[in-house]
Symmetry: C2
Subunit: 444 residues, 2 copies
């Protein structure tokens, strides 16, 4: 006998955990479909080359589950969806006409040190709008993201959206050295996690004083007041920066129609890790004092799909991971009560009547009423009722010779203890069952 | 630019394929829940040792996707669910009291030569009843299996259940050499795929003439008439065989309450590949002349869980793969029409009114009415209507300055071309929308 544990950093989903996972996913599906998004899915395994060209170096070199298959192909378990999505868009048939609104819910693996909010296998919703670079698509993607959180019962005090635009820092610093710019981006990305001294020290190691001053100026940028800050910027870049900030203001205006504008915070320190972003970037933060961290994020990536096909298509999207989402919902007590069982529990009161029981369960199921039938005769009915209640059932069905002679069935309401006799005749039985359930639903 | 293909033997699920996959899975979930089964899930990766002890040699040596992770652990992508299920049952907490009715829908990988009905990544429903070895649990598992096929619209002429019992051949031949018995089992398993001569030749290579005669006698076994055939069998085995056949007859009697007995065929040539089966084994066959093959199968495995924990638990279950299921449904024209889009298409008729459009879409979505809003102004309304119809929408919404002044919105029914004006006031608008949709649903 050997006890096996799950692989470190992965989870077994027992029925209680699976109930929650299904609840997370169903809400996501509902909101996405309400916006006209269509679900897609893809293999768990891809050629490693797909990630070599598109994913971050950190993912490819340190986190990929990569191996050689029995046919000598270099393959990897997917660490993210975007490269697969780009591949599928490039290979799609003509019936899929952009703009395409697509979403998927899938598992991913990354070799990380498992810890709070970080696992090796996680699930992620990916929502993408492909083929439009209008402000309307930016507005839509952010609306979907916020509406999903609201669909779980979150209110607008519990999260905020921080956003920026990927091109702003480039234009602001006017650097031609893209590698240096990327390094600066990485330092800014860490700003919240390190001290002021550490931050300055890291900047000084690669920047001139003039550049550091410009970076600090950059942090002062606000959508409402930026003209004064622009005076040191080259005229050409100045116009581009103004255009971007105006577009972001317009986005905020439209988002404010259905969302609280207080939740929408322009934040020039937002830098997303992936290199493929080109426009709007955003992160959604928990406002809970013990969890001031990004729940999820996304952005615009207008050049990625063009690298996979002749056709260049702008795109914007986000990924929402289940681990940080669950932490957010737990912080705000938004997790629903778990109920994995519904309907009726049928006691095996008299084994000679088993065929009758089968007929009745068939009738209930035909009417979409779940029923679990016991597999052994109960020694004591009282214990059986306790078991059924523990399993989460509301009603117990009992049929003995006496009831069969009278052509009735006994229904015991396990919450009140009340017993009702219902006629066995099909229509009357089903009507009776529905009216008992309505009474129960009203009460609970 | 490089075009990437999916890894051989795996599938991209574009929205149309995903619509079908979701349809397959939703029916399976519905039937399982109607029987009181709870959903679970598990990691895609397991320690390879888990399969070494439990899966067939063919799977472990030839089909596993196995590799060493970055932490020097030997791991595999799961090729089947049962070992994981046994592991989870052994590790479960006390709140899960047997009998347990569990199901899962998950993807698996096996390194097979991709071909008709065989892929390297496939999805499979696993349904298991753990902790009962009564005939009632055998009846229930087979009922779930048949009800799932019926839930897709299949009738009882389109499939048959062939069943047997794993212990019958052992008792019949009275062999102490388990390895020889296993070999005989494998030859019988191939019987339908090879010629009579090949079959005899393979048997002769390992069996004595007496044994071959016994095997041919064994094939004559029927539930209704077996006494004569038993005369050559040892008395002790004879009683056990009679018991088993009586139990199978009882199972057929109970199954016949809600299913056609013609569909239930005792077939002593049924041998399931996995070594862990101990009792009832069954395979469900397509009756379509061009596809006389097993769609799926399962059986009882009473000793497996005891190998993972101190506690021994009987169990029975089946796995239903999506590839063979889809072939079955296609053969019988049971695949539904694909419709990935529902609800309304909102034209961006006047960009100045975009904020109004956002208010209206919000109202619809709040009432669970899906709406997709266009991302650019249509050059010609006619083209826009064509696009919306091509996407599968039934209704188009149009709002211009004129309508806004009158506080109405235009709804165009794309199937009839009929236009209706609805008041913008919330309650009246939603009521109007519902009544338009009801009219549509009646018509279609």
């Amino acid at each position: 006998m050997k006890k096996f544990q799950p692989y470190p950093g992965t989870r077994d989903f027992y029925p209680n955990e699976m109930f929650l996972r299904n609840w997370f996913f169903e809400k996501q599906r509902e909101v996405c479909r309400n916006y006209g998004y269509e679900e897609y899915s893809a293999p768990i395994l891809e050629y490693t080359d797909l990630y070599r060209s598109k994913s971050s170096e950190e993912i490819v070199n340190e986190q990929l589950y990569t191996f050689i298959d029995r046919g000598n192909r270099e393959v990897s378990i997917r660490p993210e969806m975007t490269p697969t999505l780009a591949r599928m868009i490039a290979n799609r048939d003509q019936s899929y006409v952009p703009p395409l609104r697509w979403f998927s819910i899938a598992n991913f693996m990354r070799y990380e040190r498992p810890g709070k909010g970080r696992l090796r296998e996680f699930y992620q919703l990916n929502v993408d709008l492909i083929g439009s670079n209008t402000v309307y698509s930016d507005v839509e993607i952010l609306s979907v993201a916020m509406d999903i959180l609201k669909s779980y019962g979150a209110n607008e005090d519990q999260f905020i959206v921080r956003f920026s635009h990927r091109a702003l820092l480039d234009l602001w610093l006017g650097l031609t050295d893209k590698e240096k710019l990327r390094k600066i981006g990485r330092i800014i990305d860490k700003k919240e996690k390190i001290t002021q001294e550490e931050f300055d020290k890291e900047l000084k190691s690669i920047c001139e004083d003039k550049e550091i001053k410009a970076i600090y100026n950059f942090f002062q940028l606000r959508l409402e007041s930026y003209q004064d800050l622009l005076k040191d910027i080259e005229p050409k870049s100045r116009d581009q920066i103004s255009d971007i900030l105006n577009q972001l203001s317009q986005m905020v205006k439209y988002l404010s129609v259905n969302h609280n504008p207080k939740n929408l915070i322009f934040d020039p320190t937002i830098v997303r890790g992936f290199d493929y972003y080109t426009g709007l970037i955003f992160e959604i933060y928990d406002t809970h004092p013990e969890n001031r961290r990004a729940i999820f994020g996304g952005g615009r990536y207008d050049n990625l799909i063009g690298q996979f096909s002749k056709e260049s298509l702008p795109a914007i999207g986000f990924g929402m991971g289940d681990v940080t989402l669950e932490a957010f919902l737990k912080n705000h007590r938004l997790i629903p009560e778990i109920s994995t069982k519904q309907g009726f529990y049928f006691t095996l009161f008299d084994e000679n009547l088993y065929s009758e029981y089968l007929k009745i369960t068939h009738l209930l199921r035909k009417n979409h009423l779940p029923v679990e039938i016991s597999l052994s005769r109960p020694k004591k009915l009282g214990k059986e009722f306790e078991l059924a209640e523990k399993k989460g059932y509301q009603f117990c069905l009992i049929l003995g010779e006496d009831e069969l002679k009278k052509q009735v069935i006994k229904v015991k309401d396990l919450t009140t203890g009340k017993e009702t006799e219902l006629p066995l005749e099909e229509t009357k039985f089903i009507d009776g069952v529905y009216s008992l359930m309505q009474g129960y639903n009203k009460r609970s």
